[in-house]
Amino acid sequence: MTTSCHAPTMVAGDRAHIEVCDLTMAFGDFVLQRDLSFSIPRGSVFVIMGGSGCGKSTLLRHILGLLEPAAGSVLLDGRQISGLEPEARESIMRRFGVLYQSGALWSSMTLAENISLPLEEYTDLRPAEIREIAALKMAMVGLRGFEDYYPSEVSGGMQKRAGLARAIALDPEILCIDEPSAGLDPISSKRLDDLILELRDSMDTTVVMVTHELPSIYAIGTDSIFLDAETRTMIASGPPVWLRDNCENPTVRNFMTRGEGENG
């Protein structure tokens, strides 16, 4: 029995930063998810949950406007993201910062150069100022002193943090993060969570995160949706803690209690 459960909306419509309306994601005839409707409030940490292969990362790519929706739309501040002219697209992309699953640092550049590139492309700052801002971002993510290292010379956790520093180089309004804790030990993962929260609080960033790391979800998620691979739509939405305590749907319950609530 698949009963979906949705928390009562606690966000007034005008506070919605990103709105997804009746979105259907498909590759050719293969429909990945249909009828997704939710809104991401400004300043929230929005978690996209779901089992492997249900289309979480694909949803993130739709929100970023990298993929065209098969039906429905994604709105940023009430303006459609998909199907834009290249210039309009570029100005929208600058409002996003993205941290990719494996960091996706450019391997032929040092960490500082990785962070400087967006600044060089989009600002008229002098090289010395760019270097300072890059150093500041590196210090924020705890990588002071590693400016001249190449990505292959530092650990996976450090690559993630450098990726985060690159994502926030242009002070984005929206920070999209794909699997922040994948491949990190619990302590590094906790520190990354704290860092994300700190950045959100200080810069009033909206964070959209794909993850299935339960401790992270409960610790920093303020709102979430749950995508189901079987029914191919979202079967739950609301604050993660609320879902854990109130959601009756067995799939969601299993996920949120790591299967321990199966018989309870």
Binding site: S108, L136, A139, G145, E147, S202
Partner: protein, 375 residues
Amino acid sequence: MKKPVIEAVGRPDGLTLRAAGTWDIEAEMPEYGGVRTAVAALGSGDVLGYDTTDLETWDSGFLALVQRLEAIAADRGVEVDHSGLPEGARRLLSLAESSPSREDARRSTERPPAVERIGEATLDAVSEADRAVVFLGETTRSLGRFAMGRGRYRKRDLWLLVQQAGAGALGIVSLVSFLLGAILAFVGAVQLQQFGATIFVANLVGIAMARDMGALMTAIVMAGRSGAAYAAQLGSMKVNQETDALVTLGISPVDFLVAPRVLALSTMMPLLTLYAILMGIAGGALVATTMLDLSLTTYWNQTAGALSIGDIAGGLFKALVYGILIALSGCREGMRCGGSASAVGDAATAAVVSSIVAIISAAGVFAWVFYVLGI
């Protein structure tokens, strides 16, 4: 949008920096030369404070400027008071300051003196040569194991490599050697026409293709085609730790990856060269029959009379050696590839360059040896 402004206002115990307007690094940054001078004029015991009541928005550009001014202030023993900064900015600055500085991690950017650099380069070259000899030895042993039937490789991989290095290269080898034969015929025809000896175009094309040009052109094509591919394949396997995975299984990467490639290329090269020789003769024949009014039969008989079995055997032997050189250079560059995506590109480039250098050097040695031996 208001213009961003920063100004220094004196106060009894030091200086207050008043920031106002909209700060956006993508738009414009304010002039701050005056403020910097004012901060630099402070002395020990003074206080540097902030007034941001008129500051509308701020971003990293503002933070970086604050950091820069505070670095100047810190050098002069000035006390800094962050209480006038916006809440978020204060938090970000303390986040940046709290992160431990790994001074030991910092790289020195100083250039070592010339003598040291020459020494380093020499030592590098020696150890590089050392590793090259080790690689050659390992490959030889691996081929020995292969010959004894104890090599560890997958038959399917070997056949695939044979197909890629053999049948897969026929198209490009046909084109290049056909054109080369035609070019040789053109060059020869112009000279030989002066003596009325156009029939000797057949000798020229046949002997040149069989003894040298067939093997050489095929080798250069294969260096660009297979040599680069081997370096890129092995290099990306190295980057993805696939070679490490082989080693942990107790399989030597040289057995599994290098030996089949050397074998495939060195067996296919003579066959491709034989084919290239025929294509070159065909190219020469086309020019001779259309431009020099020679009949196809005459041309063929002349070619057959000019070529000895030794010429062709010599060419095929050279091709075998070139094949081994290309495969070794490609695999060697792939195996010593660094850990990043750009290193794979470097390895492919190095493979092509080093195999072409090896091929040309070997061709020179062959020319001399064949001359001395009178072959």
